[in-house]
Each structure stands twice: as C-alpha cells, then as structure tokens.
C-alpha cells in the first residue's frame, strides 16, 4: 500500500513536468496554431539556466522559480518575433519544421558550451530529505513539486476563467473564429501567449532540475512524450493537457516500478489506445479530429 502511494506521488511529480509543459504547448497551439517542437528544448534551457544561475550567481531554487520563467518569457518573445511569426499564415507544418531546426541548434549550442555530461544541482536545505505522512515515507521534494505545480495549474486556470485576459486567451484557444467574430483581436495575443507557453516549459525545467540529469539531451524525449500527452488529452484542450500530463506521469511511474522494460513503451501504447477509442483525445472536441 505504501509502495503504491509512493509510486502515485512519484508519478504525479513526474507528471507535473508534463502537465506544466503541455499546458504551455496547448495554449501556444490554440492561439497560434503552432505545434512547438522546441518545447522540449525550452524545458531543457529552463533546467540548464537553473543550474547555471546557482553556479554563477548562487541563486537557489526559490529564486530560479521566479527568475527563469521571466527569462524564458523574454526568450520566447524573441523567438516568436524573430522566427515563428513569419510562418503563421502558412501551413502549420512549416512552423513544426522551423521549431525542429531551432531545437537542433539550441541542443547543440548547449552541448558545445556545457558538454554532454550532466550539470550538478544542489537542492536548498528545506527541500531535501523525506517526510513521514501517516506511515508513508515520501521524498520531500517530490511532494513540493506536486503541490507547486498543482498550485500553478490552478493559478493558470483561475487566470483563464476569472480574468478578462484569460477569457480572451481561452476563447482564442478553443474557438478562434468565434472569438474573432466577436471582435476580439486574437492577433494581439500571439506574441505574449507564445512567451507565456515558453515560460511554462521553462518552469517545468526549473522544477525538473534537481530531479533529473541536466543535460543538453534531456528535452528530446521529453518533447516527444509531450506530443503523446497532447494527443491523449486532445490538442487544443487546456484541461486535457493537464489531466493527460499527470496521467502519463502515473503510467510512467507504475511502468518503471512494475515493468521497467516497457515503461517508455507504455506511454505510446496508451496513446495508440486513445487514438483507436477516442481519436479526438480525452477532452478534445470532435471538430479537432479533422
């Protein structure tokens, strides 16, 4: 029983990286119609930035949680203005190819600068060790990651549903034509939304920094699993991205615990099942199937 609970927490903690990043991917896709291949690279940059900030400026995780998303937001805005915006009117496949090329460049640059071996990362004292919750011993950091990302997801959710800006973004994400028809200038939100999505990927990277090996390649497989996540959740659905993110994290954790050989494969089997049973994804609408 306690083992199962440990896997649940472990899975949800891993899932929160997917959930946060997939949330960013979904918002970007919704408003821009861009599937951002570089999302994994942005996640990697978030983690690398966290390690570098600690190493050079001595900024602990608490500061990184604040600073890195801001930096990534700015970086995202630059990428959108410099590259992505020129292809927005064309077939979305072109932006997939563009961000794929960008991924190769970013990963290689980090490799050249920081090498291929992992960067070290030291957790701040308050987050190390384990906690005993009613007889179940859990790593403190995993609990923190879980609570923190659920809080972020709830915050984003409140922002999306309770504020005017959020409602505009949500309308642009889920019903762009209708939003336009109601006189909302969807185009104005393109750049900040891209930055916001990139910042979420960066935030997932910050949280992953103490948890995973920080290497230039850490985002590659992550990006592909993210694609599986949004296919499972339903591309264009914000709730679907979050739920599927946690779900995939659970599948991964239980897979690693009970069938380590198949852990990575299970995620894609889950995706295949969803495609067969519900082609639009768990929370996708029918039109999105096309």
């Amino acid at each position: 029983m306690s083992a199962v609970l440990q896997y649940v927490v472990q899975g949800l903690a891993a899932g929160s990286f997917y959930a946060l990043a997939a949330l960013g991917l979904a918002v970007i896709f919704g408003v821009l119609g861009v599937v951002n291949f570089a999302h994994g690279a942005f996640y990697m940059l978030g983690a690398v930035a966290t390690a570098v900030l600690l190493d050079t400026l001595g900024l602990t995780l608490w500061w990184s949680l604040l600073v890195v998303p801001v930096l990534m937001f700015v970086f995202g805005v630059v990428v959108e203005r410099l590259l992505v915006q020129w292809l927005l009117r064309l077939d979305p496949l072109y932006n997939l190819l563009l961000t794929f090329g960008l991924t190769l460049v970013l990963v290689e640059l980090v490799k050249q600068r920081y090498g291929v071996s992992g960067l070290p990362y030291q957790l701040p004292g308050g987050l190390t060790g384990r906690v005993d919750l009613a007889g179940v011993v859990l790593p403190r950091y995993q609990l923190f990651v879980l609570l923190f990302s659920v809080a972020v997801c709830v915050l984003v959710w409140l922002m999306m549903t309770r504020t005017r800006v959020g409602m505009i973004v949500r309308a642009s994400t889920e019903k762009p034509e209708l939003a336009r028809a109601l006189g909302i200038n969807v185009g104005r939100w393109v750049t900040p939304v891209f930055g916001f999505g990139v910042a979420l990927a960066g935030l997932a990277g910050v949280l992953a920094a103490p948890f995973r090996a920080i290497t230039a390649d850490m985002g590659n497989n992550f990006a592909i699993i993210l694609f599986a996540v949004v296919v499972i959740g339903g591309l264009g659905s914000i709730l679907g991205a979050v739920v599927a993110g946690f779900l995939v994290g659970l599948v991964e954790a239980f897979g690693q615990a009970y069938a380590p050989t198949f852990a990575q494969i299970l995620i894609f089997v889950l995706m295949a099942l969803i495609i067969l049973v519900r082609p639009a994804g768990l929370f996708g609408r029918k039109e999105a199937t096309a």
């Binding site: 919704g30 821009l32 119609g33 599937v35 590259l83 020129w86 292809l87 927005l88 009117r89 064309l90 077939d91 979305p92 496949l93 072109y94 997939l96 190819l97 563009l98 794929f100 090329g101 960008l102 991924t103 190769l104 460049v105 970013l106 990963v107 290689e108 640059l109 490799k111 050249q112 762009p176 034509e177 969807v186 590659n220 497989n221 592909i224 694609f227 599986a228 949004v230 296919v231 591309l235 264009g236 050989t261 198949f262 990575q264 494969i265 894609f268 089997v269 995706m271 295949a272 495609i275 067969l276 082609p279 039109e287 999105a288 199937t289 096309a290």
Partner: protein, 351 residues
C-alpha cells in the same frame, strides 16, 4: 494560423505550375541522372556514394507522402531503421545473398507500417506528424530494449555482405555499389510509377481537397494507408541497402533525428518533386562528409540552421526553385508567342 487552417492545407512548397511537362526534358534529366548515378563512385568515396543513393530513395519515399498525399511523417526512421535491423539479422543468421536480406527488411517495414499507418491516418496535418513521431519513438525504445536481438546501444555488428560468392562485390565497396544500385533505382522507378499512376492522382486530390475526394467516393483513409505502406516499403529497401553497405546497424537509424534528417533532405531538395529528394540527399551527405573531414563537431548546429533558413526563406527547395524558374520562363515565352494555352488542358500539376 487557426485550427481551421490546421485541417487540410496542402504542404506544397512548390505551387502547381500551370505549364505541362515536356517529355524531351524528362528523358534528358533521366539520362543525366543515370549517368551521374553510374559515375558517382568514381568521384565520391564509394561508401559515401552508396549513402547518397540510399538516402535519396529514403527522401523520395518520404516525398510520396509529404509532396503527394500531403502527409508529413516525422517517424520514418521506424521503417528505415527496422528494415536495416531485419536485413542485417537475415544477412547475419542465414547468409543469404544481400538482395534477399534487403527485400526481407522492406517487407518487414511494410508490415510494421500497417498498424502504425492505420492509427496515424486517422489524423491529418499536424496531428499526423506528431502521431508518427510518437510511434517511431516507441519503435526506437523497443529496439533499444530488445538488446538480445538488436545489440541495444552497441548496435548490430558484423553484418556480412554475401553476394553469390562474388568476392569483388563482397569485399570492395566500389563493386558493391554497382550490385546494390539496381535495387535503389528500382525503388525510385517504383516511386515515380506510384505518383504518376491514377492512384497517385487520387492522392493529390485527397491532399488538395479531402472532402471532395470523399464525396467522389474515394475511401480517403484507405488511400492514405496504402500510400503510407508503399512509402514504408521503399524506405525499407533503402534502409536495408544502407545496413548491408555499412556492415553495421546503429541504434541511431531508429532515432527521431534520422526522421528529421530525411525530412530536411526532402524539404531542402523541394517538396513534391521526387528529384528534389536526390538533390537534398546529395547536398546533405556531402555537407556532413565535408564537415566531418574538416574536424568540425556539432553538425546538428549546421543542420538545424539550414532547416530554419530553408523553411523561412527557401520553401520551394533547390529543385523546386529550379523547376519553378524554368516553367515560369517557358510559360512567358509561350504566351509571348500568343499560342492559346487551352491546347494544354488538365495536365495540371506539372509534377
């Protein structure tokens, strides 16, 4: 830009030129291509020449889907790599002449393409790219984990190159090139036949207007699936030859970066042109070879930058641009002679 645009917009870098095609030019191109293919190992290190031709067929096979059916497969490494492994295993364990092993690999790739294609063609556009990528990653992990069979990270080593006991072919890359070339040329011919057949016409119509094709009674999913399986089979031929040529199968052949490389070759050469795949493969392999020999590390930096630049500035690709210029010039000349264009109806796409 929005979801409606996601659905069925064709991925055609080369927009359909209005002029028809000229059989004379086609024969000249074909002859030039054949001479180049035959002369290549004299000018290029033979194993590299083999890589160029194998990757050219790989890019052409991808172009059947991308250029004609409008489907971007980001997971073709699954078929390239699995055929390489199967061909390598057959050659290792049964000692058959290498063409048999290559055909075995291609058949396996087609069989693998049936379930993957069945699930992937249910989604189109950007979804198709993501789903194929994800399935290819699954195949990669299977190859990685099943190390008893594949050698895992070490790859499959010591693949023999058996060819009816003809020692020159078995030991020397120069002669092996000529033994393997017919297989790849057959693949290219098959690709040409596929896209210029009535079947290929239906694919183009599905790409350009899925709803209308469906309304005309074509079973869209079936056509897409057949195209997918055929493309995987040709990819398999190329992957098998590649494996035998190297005498070694690396796990990289299944990796997503291989899928990306071949997409780059196709886009760089020109989507929807077939010839573009050959140009793209040639340029990419020569560039990689040059960079490697000049001691430059980080080829991905160059690959990625080329990707970004081509997509931003040069979407027709090399061959697509050449063809576009040539057709535009011919059209201008023809209209200045004031010959009525209606003499050339329907030959539409010029592909």
């Amino acid at each position: 830009m929005t979801q409606s645009a996601v659905t069925e917009a064709p991925v055609t870098g080369a927009d359909a030129p209005p002029a028809g095609r000229d059989p004379k030019v086609r024969w000249i191109l074909l002859a030039a291509g054949l001479v180049t293919a035959l002369a290549l190992p004299w000018f290029v290190y033979p194993p590299v020449a083999m890589d160029i031709v194998a990757l050219a067929l790989f890019a052409i096979a991808l172009d059947i889907l991308l250029g004609y059916a409008g489907l971007l497969s980001f997971g073709h490494a699954a078929f390239w790599g699995s055929s390489a492994y199967v061909a390598g295993l057959i050659a290792t364990h049964y000692g058959v002449p290498f063409p048999v092993a290559v055909v075995g690999g291609a058949v396996f790739a087609m069989i693998l393409a049936i379930p993957i294609g069945y699930m992937s063609v249910r989604r189109s556009g950007i979804y198709f790219a993501m789903v194929t990528l994800a399935f290819a990653q699954m195949v990669y992990f299977i190859g990685y984990r099943w190390s008893d069979l594949t050698g895992g990270e070490n790859g499959l080593q010591g693949v023999p190159r058996s060819f009816f006991g003809i020692e020159l072919v078995e030991t020397q890359s120069f002669y092996f090139y000529y033994a393997a070339l017919p297989i790849l040329l057959f693949g290219m011919w098959a690709a040409w036949r596929i896209v210029h057949s009535p079947f290929g016409r239906v694919l183009v119509s599905i790409r350009d207007n899925t709803q209308r094709a469906r309304a005309l009674g074509y079973e869209v999913e079936k056509y897409k699936l057949i195209a997918f399986v055929l493309s995987a089979g040709l990819t398999g031929l190329a992957g098998g030859v590649f494996a035998i040529s190297h005498g070694f199968v690396a796990l990289t052949e299944l990796h997503w970066s291989t899928s990306g490389d071949v997409v780059l070759m196709t886009v760089l050469g020109g989507i929807g042109t077939l010839w573009g795949g050959i140009v793209g493969a040639f340029l990419t392999v020569m560039l990689a070879d040059y960079l490697a020999s000049s001691g430059f590390h980080g080829i991905d930096l160059v690959t990625g930058a080329v990707f970004v630049l081509v997509v931003l500035l040069f979407r027709r690709g090399v061959w697509g641009t050449v063809r576009h210029q040539w057709l535009a010039r011919r059209l201008r000349r023809r209209s200045s002679r004031r010959s009525p264009d209606s003499a050339d109806p329907g030959e539409g796409t010029g592909r």
